[in-house]
Symmetry: C2
Subunit: 201 residues, 2 copies
């Protein structure tokens, strides 16, 4: 480790390097940048980081981040309250929202079932999801989980519990060649799926 | 820009994305990571960032970062006080110190002369450097500036002012092929310099 000439700098580098994708060298570069900027910026940055944990709440309905008890999506009367999209993280909500292609509600699981990492259904918001589907007037549940072993396991686990509700439609987001993607560079799994799940013209 | 569901999150992303090399998407990833971690981490990170500006001082002799008025290098009695190494930034001091190959003192310019960016000699610590060479018992000044137009200009500007002191030795750090570097991948300028400035065996 670099031998830093200041305890405060060392502390800042230590804490910054705990952020994902930021090593000791980048952390040092960030700390030196903060040192060069005016005092107001360092203060603003520190305040906004501290207030993140203090002020950001999680929506009681969909577990998305929100400044209020119920988030802006769940409380929006123009959304379709009969469709529920199940996602792993709040960043997935942001990604889907930015497309503008979805007008229903969400349910954030806060992770996926992963025996290797010791994440069981009890660690996620699955129980609440089942409860919501039973109590709210939901017609369709869309699974928008990542196409990994853990994602597929989680979707399977939830599907099993929801199957007794015969009138409920369940769907997966489409897998295939990305728009603008070249066929020759696609992996076999994606290309295979895009052929077997081709859409009619 | 992403439409974030929380004002506090937006504020944090805004401030984090002002850091060098961190765009809006990475800033969001960092903010979501901080949200997931326990409260103590967010508090620690915020405190250490705020205390950076408050507690880190600059050495009155060499302008390096320090927790005290005079830094650990300047106040170390085992250092060679007759040799001065001129560097652009405090990160250069850290880099040279980590080699263990230099036992003299430093002088941090806090930048280089750059007419394009409006940085004049008055913005740097050049005047103090000239003063130090005159008042302290310095035998050699080593220029360890980056090999850019601005770096060369700055070295030239300082050299001109120090030339009247005839007993003073001035030197540049060696340029050449990095240790372990392959000749075929070196740029022409570096390879050319490594030949013209070859060392005797």
């Amino acid at each position: 480790m670099l031998n830093l000439p200041s305890k405060s700098l060392e502390q800042a580098v230590e804490n910054l390097s705990k952020l994902p994708g930021i090593g000791k060298k980048t952390a040092l570069r960030l700390a030196l940048h903060i040192l060069k900027e005016d005092e107001l910026y360092a203060k603003d940055l520190a305040t906004s980081i501290a207030s993140l944990k203090l002020n950001v709440k999680f929506c009681k309905k969909c577990h998305n981040i929100s400044d209020h008890e119920i988030c802006g999506i769940c409380s929006n009367p123009s959304r379709d309250i009969h469709t529920l999209c199940v996602v792993e993280n709040m960043s997935d909500v942001l990604a889907i929202e930015s497309t503008g292609a979805y007008k229903g509600l969400y349910h954030v699981l806060n992770g996926v079932i992963s025996p290797l990492q010791g994440i069981t259904p009890a660690d996620l918001t699955i129980e609440h999801l089942i409860e919501r589907v039973h109590n709210e007037d939901i017609n369709e549940v869309i699974f928008a989980l990542n196409a990994s072993l853990d994602g597929d396991t989680t979707a399977f686990f939830i599907r099993q519990q929801l199957e007794p509700i015969t009138i409920l439609k369940m769907s997966n987001i489409a897998r295939g060649i990305p728009v603008g993607g070249a066929l020759e560079f696609a992996d076999e799994l994606t290309l295979g799926r895009s052929i077997s799940e081709r859409t009619n013209l």
